[in-house]
Amino acid sequence: MGTLWFWIIALMLAAYVVLDGFDLGVGIVYLFVAKTEQNRQLALRSIGPVWDGNEVWLLAAGGTLFFAFPLLYASAFSGFYLPLMMVIWLLILRAIGIEMRSHAHDAMGRSFFDAVFAFASLLLALFFGAALANVVRGVPLGPDNYFFLPLWTNWRTGAQPGILDWYTVIGGVLAVLALAMHGSLYLALKTEGDLEQHAFRWAGKLWPAVLLVTAISLPATVLARPNSLVNYRTHPLDFLAPLMVVLSLGVIRSAIRAGKALRGFLGSCVYLAAMLSGAAAGLYPVLLPSVGGAGQDLTVARAIASPHTLHIGMVWWTIGMLLALMYFSIMYWLFRGKVSQHSEGHGH
């Protein structure tokens, strides 16, 4: 039962990263890819009906974590107190940027909110990447299962790491690059004309950087937490995840060359999902590794809620997810195709 809930939450987080990832990515590349007023409106319209639904995956995953692994929720959320508060503020700022831009009546107001949107999207991607890297690397859990991390220390991993050290910064940079490419491919898929061309060009520029940092991140993970390899040694099937990472990067490259946006975007979805499942496969059954001497790893078995609670949860979770998938299919189906410049009476 614990294993099942571990993978359920991993799956929900992957859904969040793939879905909200593209609208965060649009935010990251927004200032560079869309330079004219018309293109900026188009770029925002491409994520308009879906971005807040995408964000709901974060809330749903958080809620599921709360009830399925209360100890992990309590420990991780209080341990990452400050960074999480900053994530909240950034989510608020980003929503304000998107929302207020459409109500700004002059060029100055619009460029101000453009910058807020782009800045908050970039920092969010950086924070999420660093956060994931923190979880992979491990935290100094105390005997009471709690911890409190300083924001920065001497940048080294080890017994007393900080939230930002060399490893987590790599994680943050990788997230920014990967989501920027993901967002560019989404824009290329959803728009036409010169915006589509710019988006393809940016995806092409970002690809080598994503490849490079991905290649660095794999050995870096083993250095930061040698135990990551244990599962891979015992279950060679886990190597499917890194294999998928390599394959999908190849697919993305060829799709960008051939100008096939859909293939590129799907490749990017697979890339993100494979990176996350690779990390999850390396962790399992640990949820939050402990570094330093005081505590022990938070494992599925220690953090999980009682079997009776989980049994009840499984029933409504399954029903709820089926419904959610149905809504999302309706949504994406109705808003399928490219966002066009003229056809809709959106204008001012």
Binding site: D52, F67, F69, A74, S75, F148, I312, G320, L323
Partner: protein, 451 residues
């Protein structure tokens, strides 16, 4: 201030600010369905335009509700980690269900409702408005289930390691406290929606612009306001008080300012509690009315604060006393105002009676104050417990987050939310100024993104 006080203050501040938005959106969601139904039934374009106008205001408030709601879910873990660790298996369930059953529903169909009027048939568009309404009301239900369990824990047992486990899912969902609190809360939300809608209607009539819309807003607002104000007092408020007297006697004694148990207790309408001498200064009171309201006879004994050990008294008694009196006083005013407006509407004089349009216009902030005060009653009344009678609030917070860190984030929220308030007011002012006629098909979606 110590760390516990700061954690409490931060949670109180963020949730009070958050609740400004859902109370309007839950109320408006219902009224928008009414407008869409009128549009579908009559085929009259002006009802459709009215719905579009309110959808736009809904969207902005919904967005602010979402962004100020995210901190609430996070703060269970960040600031109240011990509470979360112990009760997560129970209370995490309704919290997770809210996300899975209502947020997905609401966000998907809000997108359709705002952006899809052209792509959908009128019936399908009506259905998307209806599903947004369902989403927002289901969402309120799960949050109330979570809160009601903290007020009145049911269907649980405590494991040897101190964690709480659910006995029965149905008993958790059917907690009688939850249904009472839900009914009282939702009729409060409809009051807010109705007052805001009537207020805008009164504004248009007083300004002599968009008169046709002003009449519709007033008609729908006053009818909904009349019904919801009445149900707010009877049966929901009345039953709630009786339930409270049975299960949280210290809370109701604090709300009423009843220091000593009394037979034939009086209801204090106005007065200032004096905690040193345990009496009410300058009371204006109705003899024996409190006993009647709670037990149905004038001579029953009502438990005073003296029946509860002092270390279990609600920790901020004066606030509790005033919150309750503000809520009850405003509730009485609402019934009077809406009763009068309803009478004038029935006699066909409402739209011409400027003397009543003015108070309707100016009353829109009052339901916000009354609902906030109502929440304060519930939450302060529960103190010093985070789970009533079982877990003290002082045993629930994140002990390793220092007071300074909590103060830092409290200040951060203060700054962030001041900014949000300014933007919110400017935006609503602009919407109301530009009026419903400026909206064509699809432009309702304007407000959730650019273009």
């Amino acid at each position: 201030m110590d760390a516990l006080a700061l954690h409490r203050l931060q949670f109180a501040f963020t949730i009070t600010f958050h609740y400004l938005f859902p109370q309007l959106t839950m109320g408006l969601a219902l009224l928008i369905v009414v407008l869409k139904t009128l549009a579908l039934r009559t085929g009259d374009e002006h009802y459709a335009a009215s719905a579009r106008f309110w959808a736009r205001i809904f969207a902005v408030n919904f967005l602010l509700g979402v962004v100020t709601g995210i901190p609430m879910e996070f703060q269970f873990g960040t600031n109240w980690s011990e509470f979360s660790r112990r009760t997560g298996g129970v209370i995490g369930m309704p919290v997770a269900m809210e996300g899975i059953f209502s947020f997905f529903l609401e966000s998907a169909f809000l997108g359709l409702f705002l952006f899809g009027e052209k792509r959908l048939s009128p019936k399908a568009h009506w259905a998307s408005a209806f599903l947004v309404f369902c989403g927002s009301w289901i969402s309120g239900f799960f949050i109330i289930v979570a809160n009601a369990w903290m007020q009145h824990p049911v269907a649980y047992h405590i494991l040897p390691n101190g964690l709480f486990e659910v006995d029965s899912f149905w008993a958790l969902m059917m907690n009688p406290w939850a249904w009472l609190e839900y009914a009282h809360n939702m009729s409060g939300a409809v009051i807010t929606g109705a007052f805001v809608m009537s207020s805008v209607g009164a504004l248009y009539l007083l300004q002599g612009r968009d008169v046709e819309y002003g009449r519709t807003f007033l008609k729908v607002g006053v009818v909904a306001g009349l019904i919801s104000c009445a149900t707010q007092i009877f049966p929901t408020g009345d039953l709630h008080g009786k339930y409270l007297a049975k299960h949280q006697p210290a809370a109701i004694a604090g709300m009423e300012g009843l220091f000593h148990s009394e037979k034939g207790a009086a209801m204090v309408v106005l007065g200032q509690p004096d905690f040193e001498h345990e009496k009410i200064d300058n009371p204006i009171a109705f003899n024996k009315v409190l006993s009647f309201l709670i037990y149905g006879t004038f001579s029953s004994e009502v438990q005073g604060l003296d029946q509860t050990p002092r270390d279990q008294w609600p920790t901020t008694l004066p606030l509790l006393f005033y919150a309750y009196h503000i809520m009850a006083g405003l509730g009485t005013y609402f019934v009077g105002l809406m009763g009068l407006a309803g009478l004038l509407l029935w006699r066909g004089q409402l739209y011409r009676s400027r003397w009543i349009l003015w108070p309707i216009l100016l009353s829109f902030p009052l339901p916000y104050i009354a609902n906030t005060a109502g929440w304060m009653c519930a939450e302060i009344g529960r103190q010093p417990w985070v789970v009533y009678g079982l877990v003290r609030t002082s045993a629930g917070y994140s002990t390793h987050i220092g007071a300074g860190t909590s103060l830092f984030t409290l200040l951060g929220f203060l700054g962030m939310y001041s900014l949000l308030s300014i933007l919110w007011i400017v935006m609503l002012y602009n919407f109301i100024q530009s009026g419903p006629r400026s909206l064509s098909h699809e432009t309702a979606g304007h407000s959730l993104t650019a273009a």
